[in-house]
Subunit: 179 residues, 2 copies
């Protein structure tokens, strides 16, 4: 690999490391993914560790998370006892998986607490305060449902379909603004 490709990979490692840390997956997760994504061939555990300058132990533990999210696959090569990893390159597939396994459960858990909150409020003695609380919780429930619905619809489309739909909405939006 020549120098510019190494530098290019460095930039991507940095980009995905920050994104991953920001979204709560940990910096190393995004960095590992970046290393694998820009390699056409599967990469051994030791090579990943060397590339990122961390221990094999760290990679061994951390990459399991990426496997569970379907972002990375483990493979073996005939005549070689090492394990190799390669990146899942279909971002839509990854999005489905990450949303389904990480974000949806969290969302559902909070949503059910909000519903519980509303149920308890409805059992409170009649008062203006009670009414306001119920109203507030209803608004919040509606917002949650809207977000849920949005994610559902978007994930039900292919990237191409989504792109087409967005372009249509942009056109409609411009038409609205012109009168």
């Amino acid at each position: 690999m020549n120098n510019n490709l190494t530098l290019s990979q460095d930039a991507l490692i940095q980009a995905l490391g920050r994104q991953s840390a920001f979204w709560g997956l940990g910096r190393t997760a995004g960095e590992m993914y970046a290393v694998l994504y820009l390699n056409s061939d599967p990469v051994s555990l030791e090579e990943v560790a060397q590339r990122l300058k961390v221990t094999k132990g760290n990679i061994s533990v951390a990459i399991r998370q990426l496997e569970q999210l379907g972002m990375v696959r483990r493979s073996w090569q005939k005549g070689d006892r090492r394990v190799f990893f390669e990146a899942e390159v279909d971002f839509w597939k990854i999005a489905h998986s990450v949303l389904g396994l990480r974000y949806k459960p969290e969302f559902d858990q909070s949503f059910s607490l909000v519903e519980e909150s509303a149920t308890i409020a409805e059992q409170a003695a009649l008062s203006a305060e009670r009414d306001m609380v119920i109203e507030r919780l209803k608004s919040l429930q509606e917002f949650y449902r809207l977000l849920d619905s949005l994610v559902e619809v978007v994930l039900d489309m292919s990237p191409g379909q989504l792109k087409a739909a967005l372009e249509m909405f942009k056109l409609l939006s411009q038409k609205d603004k012109q009168g």
Copy 2:
């Protein structure tokens, strides 16, 4: 405030505390918001601290973040030297603000690193590897643009418009599946 309303608030504090922690805003931020959201009247700093069983110092620092995100407003009452807080209750407004002040900058920074990565790769010596890297980075750039576009279009709509659009897509989706 009677017992069921307190319990109701407890559940919401828990719900929003977890969501907030999960999305990287810190548990206390979500908890504070929950306290304020379910109070029709502005709440003093000390009351928030008592309700959450933390120190005033902690609230004093943490609530500044919520103010900056436009999720909470500071107010004063004639004849009372305490400061009071109230929640912004328009979730759409909050979403605009949080996305714009928190998520967008992070996204843009990563995106520009991805673009830099692509630029550097294009300066590499011609090779099959170079071509693959460039292709991979293009895919990633496209995905980033698609997400950015989605957020832009969604935030350009009112909640009602979004709801209507989603219902339309669900209908189309069912129609597709029926043949």
